[in-house]
């Protein structure tokens, strides 16, 4: 069966990667600020927890072990941001939550300076033009606090000339009301920054693409999007739609 590259499991890509004209315009403003600060527009960093602190998250796009199948049009994103996919960085920590981002306690002491939090540290080390932000799973029980801290993270990222890409999550760790994803969507809209709404895709997957712990995503080591299994696993579609988000960013900033 032929795959329509404008759709993922029946969901339009435009619903999964939300970059409106307003968002695109704001991205160009942030990008221009970043260029003035000397940011590397072809590098992205990752800020998140154990869901992406894994070699199964996007690293294969740098190693060449993949087949995009019907999504071959995403290759430019792989070329443009080459080197960032495989890079782990210092802003990934198992258990990380929004409160911990600016707490120096969470920073890697082998790489970061005294009193330097992991986000400042990552920016200093990698100088990225784009930041993928995947937080919320470990922010249970305090929606106002999550909202407050995520807004601080996004504000800080923008002030530093870095385009934040906000990512929704597949799990319901904080409860069935999905409050953290709703907060993330609102923040993306309020700040006019890209939203990668993976939560929508997870809804099409068996078990929402989650393993038995109901938090981490099921793996897809083949990274071959000509295989039907690619569209039934959490990480298979997480990686694919993440690439779509980066391609959307590339198209805006490289014009």
């Amino acid at each position: 069966m032929a795959i329509d590259p404008a759709v993922v499991n029946g969901i339009p890509v435009s619903d999964i990667v939300v970059v409106t004209d307003e968002v695109a315009a704001n991205m160009r403003t942030i990008y221009a600020r970043g260029q003035g600060l000397g940011r590397n527009g072809q590098a992205f960093s990752k800020l998140g927890d154990s869901l992406i602190a894994t070699p199964s998250f996007m690293t294969h796009f740098d190693t060449g072990r993949y087949d995009l199948g019907a999504y071959a049009h995403l290759q430019p994103a792989i070329d443009y941001f080459g080197g960032s996919y495989e890079r782990y960085g210092v802003a990934l920590r198992p258990g990380l939550h929004a409160w911990g981002v600016f707490d120096p306690l969470w920073a890697n002491k082998d790489w970061c300076l005294a009193n330097e939090d992991l986000l400042n540290c990552e920016i200093r080390l990698n100088n990225p033009g784009v930041l993928l932000i995947l937080l919320g799973t470990n922010d249970a029980g305090n929606p106002p606090g999550f909202d407050y801290n995520m807004r601080k993270v996004v504000e800080f990222t923008i002030e530093n000339g870095i385009i934040p890409v906000i990512v929704t999550k597949a799990d319901r760790f904080e409860g069935p009301e999905n409050i953290n994803n709703e907060i993330l969507r609102q923040i993306a809209a309020d700040f006019r920054v890209p939203l990668w709404d993976f939560d929508l895709v997870a809804g099409t997957l068996p078990g929402r693409g989650l393993t038995d712990d109901q938090v981490h995503l099921t793996v897809f080591p083949e990274n071959d999007y000509t295989l039907p299994e690619a569209y039934q696993t959490g990480l298979g579609l997480h990686n694919l739609t993440g690439l779509m988000a980066l391609e959307a960013v590339r198209q805006v900033i490289s014009r």
Binding site: P94, G95, F102, L105, K109, A114, N138, D139
Partner: protein, 122 residues
């Protein structure tokens, strides 16, 4: 005997009138223990005034954790400097994963007769 008694009284007097109610290393250890416990009152009492704005962050750092412990903590002031060097680590359990936070050197400041924790030291 009288001299011994006077000596003891003198020592007690000196101790009672010393500038701080605690010593720097104890302040840091107590602070880290409070942070691990999420003890807002104790954190507030031991956090220096210039860091008051991050009180909530300091209190919530270990939210959503099933078990947090400090292992092998030992702290000592570096000479007469406002720096306390600690060894050991905080271990937190997130689901099935352990995350380790090594203890480092911390800055202390004396405020209102108490030594207080004031962030990491270079």
């Amino acid at each position: 005997m009288k001299r011994l008694l006077l000596l003891l009284i003198g020592l007690l007097f000196i101790t009672a009138c010393s500038g701080s109610g605690n010593d720097p290393a104890t302040a840091v250890k107590d602070y880290l223990s409070a942070k691990v416990a999420g003890d807002t009152d104790q954190i507030r009492a031991l956090l220096c005034s210039e860091m008051e704005s991050v009180l909530e962050r300091e209190t919530r750092t270990f939210d959503s954790v099933t078990g947090v412990e400090i292992e092998d903590m030992s702290c000592s002031q570096e000479g007469d400097s406002p720096v306390v060097r600690c060894e050991g680590q905080i271990v937190a359990l997130y689901g099935a994963e352990e995350t380790h936070f090594p203890l480092v050197s911390y800055r202390v400041i004396e405020e209102d007769g108490q030594w207080k924790w004031c962030g990491e030291a270079p």
